[in-house]
């Protein structure tokens, strides 16, 4: 069963161009305009990061930018809300460990 909806009684299929991006270095397919979070879930990926204190797995929760559960490292930048970030060709997405390192910091 694909995680993408292909037939729906109300919604029309309106996906953008098919594009590629990487997750943990492996190439995956997504669609222009969808969120990074949606592209990952469509590819069967549920664990987006591990929590700073107890290293617990974390995934998407609210999907509208409220809760910070979906923070990941995107193109080298940590703490990116993947539910609010639209996927772009060639994006490099990585799981975030802990609080993430700020670019140029330690």
């Amino acid at each position: 069963m694909s995680m993408r909806i292909s037939e729906h009684p109300i919604l029309e299929e309106k996906r953008g161009e098919e594009i590629t991006f990487t997750f943990e270095g492996s190439e995956l397919t997504g669609y222009e305009g969808e969120t990074v979070a949606a592209a990952l879930i469509a590819n069967g990926i549920k664990v987006f990061r591990h929590s700073p204190k107890d290293n617990r797995p974390r995934g998407l929760f609210c999907a509208i930018g409220n809760c910070s559960s979906c923070l990941m490292n995107v193109n080298g930048k940590p703490n990116v809300r993947t539910c609010m970030t639209q996927l772009k060709q060639g994006m490099e997405v990585r799981r975030q460990k802990g609080k993430g390192k700020i670019i140029g910091g330690n």
Partner: protein
């Protein structure tokens, strides 16, 4: 620093209608929204709305979002800033926001806060596992992004949101294993409940979740029947094999920007939590700061639209754009009264009594 006459925070039904009402009175409006497109949570509502033609009854939320966004974007008195998270509001009418990667300031004469609400959470073992989603997230994934959250879903909460999301999951071809509700009866409309039951989904009242389990994400849930003291009755525990647990246990108003400003808030469970006190024109305890929609008390998008109108008209009136002000406000208030009539809005009406002030 950027300047505007009226700043509106939030581009959902309340914020869009506030902007339109104020602009129609002649005011210059800046609408800030954190998403890349306007619409707020309407963009995932595939069901048809109730109410009257003033709230686009009979239309689906997704279509109402398009109609309102089009009106806002083509109004030359409204300037829209997408991808803009408002970070703080200050007493002197200045607010700060982050648009993309840029930190900016906006000075305004009046401010309308229409930030909406956030999903409530529920305590149970392993509730932080990936695969535990808010009901809104399930809708966003399915109805906006066209992606299924999983294959087998347990829904917690038998209010209208839980019932509607169950129906939408079934529409998308996902199996709903059960809807559980801690109360002895479901809170949602009977018509929704019966539709779900006819489609073969068990609705288990007086039931709660004990724990989720799974290595890296949800693989199942243990549920059980509860006694009147809300304790799980021995021998009633059941193991459901699900990969998604969908929480539909209500919403809390997003008052994070109002609290540090010093607006007086009060705790009203019937409205979802801490809400701002306000007068009949939706002005808070700080002059020049207005509220509309779910951030002032969780209701429906229809009432958010009407509140938006009132707040927009009132904010414009405060800076002398007063064309037919009283008449227009009266009209919107009457619409609101109709929406809040009836048994289902009894709690809302009781809640509103606790937050209304005269000023």
């Amino acid at each position: 620093m950027l300047t505007t006459e009226i700043a509106v925070i939030g581009g959902g039904p309340a914020g869009m209608n506030s902007s339109l009402a104020a602009a129609e009175q002649g005011a210059e409006v800046t609408l800030l929204d954190r998403n890349w497109e306007l619409g707020g949570q309407l963009v995932k509502q595939t069901h048809k709305f109730f109410g009257s033609e003033n709230q686009y009854a009979g239309e689906r939320g997704i279509d109402i979002a398009k109609i309102l966004a089009e009106k806002v974007q083509t109004n030359n008195r409204i300037s829209v800033r997408n991808n803009s998270d408002v970070l703080g509001i200050y007493h002197d009418g200045v607010l700060t926001f982050k648009q993309g990667d840029k930190y900016k300031k906006l000075s305004s004469r009046q401010t309308i806060v229409a930030t909406g609400a956030a999903e409530k959470f529920l305590p149970f073992i392993n509730n932080d596992l990936p695969g535990v989603y808010g009901a809104g997230a399930v809708q966003t994934l399915m109805n906006q992004q066209g992606v299924l959250p999983g294959k087998r879903v347990l829904i917690i909460g038998g209010g209208n949101i839980g019932l509607i999301v169950a129906y939408q999951l079934l529409q998308a071809g996902v199996s709903v294993e059960a809807i559980i509700e801690a109360l002895p009866q479901v809170g949602g409309y009977q018509v929704h409940k019966e539709k779900i039951e006819r489609m073969g989904v068990p609705i288990l009242t007086s039931h709660t979740i004990k724990k989720a389990y799974g290595e890296e994400s949800v693989e199942g849930a243990i549920i059980g029947k509860i006694n009147p003291s809300w304790e799980i009755i021995e021998g009633t525990e059941r193991d459901l094999e699900v990969d998604v647990i969908c929480l539909a246990v209500g919403l809390s108003p997003l008052v994070d920007l109002l609290y540090p400003l010093g607006v007086e808030l009060t705790y009203v469970p019937n409205l979802g939590g801490f809400v701002p006190k306000r007068n009949e024109y939706l002005e808070t305890t700080i002059s020049g700061y207005f509220v509309a929609g779910d951030c002032s008390g969780v209701e429906e998008a229809s009432s958010a639209m009407m509140e938006g109108k009132i707040a927009g008209l009132s904010a414009a009136n405060g800076i002398s754009y007063s064309k037919k002000f009283k008449e227009k406000v009266k009209e919107s208030k009457e619409e609101l009264k109709k929406l809040r009539a009836g048994e289902v809005a009894r709690e809302v009406r009781a809640g509103l009594k606790e937050v209304s002030i005269s000023k």
